[in-house]
Point group: C3
Chain length 446, copies 3
């Protein structure tokens, strides 16, 4: 079944709830750049989609980086002078700064304070902190709790391992009729943060499930990997095949209540950029279209100048613009089933355009074809109202000169792609159009 | 005499009245896609301009179409149960649906009603209806009259012929000094509709009369033909000469009180499009410039992808946007002498640009020429006010590098074409400019 | 020292006062198109900067013009019937129309009046008038004074010489490391008009003094010359070297209180145009960017089509737009130290861009470089705030593909050039960038 029809048939309410349920399932796992939390997450995804899990040994060269040491935590807590566990990793993953080194010490409050992070502006939230490049340890806690700490000796325990192991990522490939591929990438290195990025993971998983059941001209490759080093690992292992990646999308922060934001690829006017701009322009809801910037999510690596792949980034509210970002307030309430479903629909609409954006040759190029006698045209003699369907037929016929693709025609006409595609399908059936297979076929009758 | 001067000399009030009088003369004739009404119209035009009348036999192939059967009406009426002629083609052409088949029957009101068209929203107007492709008959009448019909038997008479004959169109050609041509096309297939398209016919006729008396670098070809099939007939008979058509204009609906609207050709930035955009920008009145769309008037056939000729369309209020369109309210009061004269002037101004838009080479390219010593420049030393004429001289000198035409210079300068043309004429006379005949002449001093 | 650092170190208040003092020093001198006033002005400038003074004999061919006769005045006055000197050139240079021929006569008021110019709208101001091309004489005076003149005989004396001599201009050249040059031109042909153009002269002189002490990649050539004929004289003597002029700027009317206005060169998007647009966009104050027009200051000659050099014009309020223009109200109060200093700073900022606008190749093009481990990046893991410096590093790395210059990167990033340049300098030092010396070096890895 064509992707367009699959999308029409989706029930946004049902699928939004299923996506949220997946996020809820994965929320408690302690994902980080490496470690067992990532593996557990990917193994759960294997129950939903076919997924190959790759391990890249610590220290492997990843261009200017290398695969990091592996980090795992058994337990981590702080006991107050009275012996109470006042901060416990078991109760919230964010309590422990990611990549904290092991420690088992008793410290005075004064000695402890430099190892505590809190958010004075949001005193009940726990911040998310990492220290990938410096060997440190720290705990994160609500500012209210921090302020309540009394003098005395505190027992600090971090029972963690940080050493040789591997970086883990997951990959799915759904082949298409042609060799060209769409790459979808979601980072999976954050613990207990719902929008960042269980929302992206859920969207990618459900997109893969839907695509698996649809007719695909293009291949679709899904990557679930830790930020920065994950994409670099994949790129370094797949360089010879990169030319097949014709379109790409990073999915991150796609579950909050804000409108959709699309950040263009470095190329700026790649097919994915044009398709997304079109889909958002014809969306009922507000949407933002942003130029490329060299900071953001994993599109950064694919858009580095040595690759310059056409990979854009789909978000809702951009990551610097909501206070819940990288705090415990980015929780399961912060993401909405309706937003998740809407983000998924935008992806599928874009895939619909990428699948169907072809050029055709009008077989009756001189003068207009008589659409009426072929039952294609509904206009009544003397009346002056044409419907969108009639307009679409005229636009497709007039601009199917082999030089304008259906998306370009839709843009010229101000019509949604689906209606132009439907018109083209009708005209193909009536043998008024012929697909252009080689550019050389475009005659010189124009 | 140069067209620009001819236009300056025109008295808009007088010519507007003459144009309206021509429309009034032709208003009662029953024009349709074919038939004697078209012939009578064209024969009357022969009294005003040289016009060749062409006949294309019914059934002749016109690309995807064919020349239609010919339709003529002797009489057509409905008698009510009391024997009164309540609807009579003799009193208004619109009462009979165009291409109605012959009928002579007595029908109950119930049987008659499906054959009656009216406009509930405009109950005193008669709609205009056609049935070119289905063999049907119908009458059109005011909704008020339709509502007043009582039960009983109605006598219906349509004494018409619909069968082999020919499609008729008229053509005038005014040769120019060069081989390139401007094509002007007006559809002549509507009965008793003043704006659509006696306005276009009158504008074309008066343009031809004025051009006949002016110096012409370009040839001008005028076509009066029924919509769709007329242009297709002409195109099919003139394919070898189409390369000569360098500019084209469909004239339709150019008499109502609204501002001028120009719809660009499919090429979008053809010389005619640029010239019209310039003329409208420098017009005192509001004007609309619209992108190409593949529906509208006869520009559609010329702008089909197999021809892609640079033919735009000049209208006033676009055809879907006024309620009088295709009704008896599109009558002689609906069109205004001042609007007709203004539409004509816009056409002539565009022809003025097309005639005069050439590139020149400044003969003193290094530094400014001393215009003062040649009596060309009016500026006073120390004063700071230059007139439009002085500015035009400077612009033409500076940009006459063989790469900028006068229209491009006028656009850069924000000056009307006529003032730039006048400056160029003065500079030519002073031998400060030389026309560029071949692009190769543009030296490499730039 | 790099120009950027020199500019940072300037004290605008001090330098503005010095510039104003220079204008005050030169204000009383009677400059005209030729003559001793020009020589005296240039000799004074020689005390501040190295300056070669050139003399071009009257009658020398200057393309379509010729070097004018030389004009010098010993004294000029009008005595009223009572014997009082009511108008005296010794009290204000503007009292005498420039290029007035000698006269020594007694005239009735009626005979005198046609030789008097005044400004009825500004009755206390003296207008500035010239008559370069017609042999005439006239006096300029306040309208109030003119209105007070009683009948009687007036003695008129103009003790002047107008005959063979020479046109004088001054030139300074500061060589750079490379052969390419920046040309700065200021007209020096107006007497006792402060904004027009002692402001331009002062700005050019101080720019030359600053540049003399800075490291220069480019050469800088300063020209102080009478309008029209001065640039034509220089052009005619320097044609073989014109290809070295890669950027140029006319400085005129840069001292009034209005915001800066930059008029683009004829090329419109030359490097100087882009650099100035960038500098003005990142300026704290309002600024105007105007398209090229073929009238204005001396950029006209350099921008004639036979040269088409990239010479723009920096002004503050454009010359036609303030009533003081070409009157005695354009005096030392009309120009402001702060405006002069600001105009100078804009020039230096533009030179900073021209000096530093190079393209580089990212040496780690695949994936992002690890800036943190090189001490370049300040971002904290988990935090979401990057500073302008961090952004600049990312932009420079991502777009240093040999196809984007630093200015283009600054424009894409919306960052001031100086911050992008500083980032590039840091990255160069860390060997993450390499300058592109030949375009061919830009590999095909993109």
């Amino acid at each position: 079944m064509e992707i367009g029809r699959v999308v029409e048939a989706l029930d946004g309410e049902v699928i939004g709830r299923e996506m949220h349920a997946l996020a809820a399932k994965l929320f408690p796992i302690n994902r980080s750049r490496t470690g067992d939390g990532v593996r557990e997450t990917l193994r759960y995804l294997q129950t939903l989609i076919p997924l190959e899990i790759h391990e890249v040994p610590s220290g492997s060269a990843l261009y200017d980086w290398e695969a990091p040491p592996e980090w795992n935590v058994r337990e981590a807590y702080i006991r107050d002078p009275g012996g109470n566990k006042i901060v416990d990793f078991a109760s919230h993953n964010l309590h422990l700064m990611a990549y904290s080194v092991p420690v088992r010490e008793t410290l005075s409050l004064e000695q402890l304070l430099p190892h505590l992070h809190s958010l004075p502006d949001h005193p009940s939230w726990i911040p998310y902190r990492t220290s990938y490049h410096q060997e440190k340890w720290a705990f994160c806690l609500p500012h209210l709790l921090l302020q309540s700490l009394a003098s005395g000796n505190y027992e600090v325990v971090i029972d963690a391992t940080l050493g040789p192991g591997s970086l883990t990522y997951g990959e799915t490939f759904l082949p298409g009729e042609e060799e060209e591929e769409v790459l979808v990438v979601s980072h999976c290195c954050h613990p207990s943060l719902a929008n960042d990025n269980l929302s992206g993971i859920a969207t990618a998983v459900f997109a893969a499930r839907i695509l698996a059941g649809a007719r695909r001209r293009l291949g679709y490759r899904f990557l679930f990997a830790p930020s920065v080093v994950g994409p670099l690992a994949w790129l370094s292992r797949n360089e010879p095949q990169l030319a097949r990646i014709r379109h790409g999308l990073a999915l991150a922060g796609v579950g909050d209540a804000g409108p959709v934001t699309y950040k263009r690829s470095r190329q700026g006017e790649a097919a994915i950029d044009k398709a997304m701009a079109h889909v958002l322009r014809h969306s009922e809801n507000a949407a933002r279209l942003e130029p490329f910037t060299p900071y953001g999510y994993d599109e950064r690596q694919f858009c580095s100048p040595g690759f310059n792949l056409p990979v854009g980034c789909l978000m809702r509210t951009p990551f610097g613009e909501y206070p819940e970002y990288h705090t415990s307030a980015d929780n399961l309430d912060f993401i909405r089933p309706a937003s998740l479903a809407d983000s998924l629909e935008k992806c599928m609409r874009v895939f619909e355009v990428l699948e169907g954006d072809r050029s055709y040759l009008n077989q009756i190029p001189k003068g207009e074809a008589q659409l009426g006698k072929r039952g294609l045209y509904r206009g009544l003699g003397g009346g002056n109202r044409l419907g969108q369907r009639d307009f679409a037929l005229l636009w497709v016929m007039n601009f199917s000169d082999g030089r304008h693709s259906l998306l370009e025609i839709a843009e010229k006409a101000g019509l949604p792609f689906a209606s132009v595609r439907a018109a083209a399908d009708g005209l193909l059936e009536a043998e008024l159009l012929r697909p252009v297979s080689h550019q050389a076929e475009v005659g010189n009758w124009v």
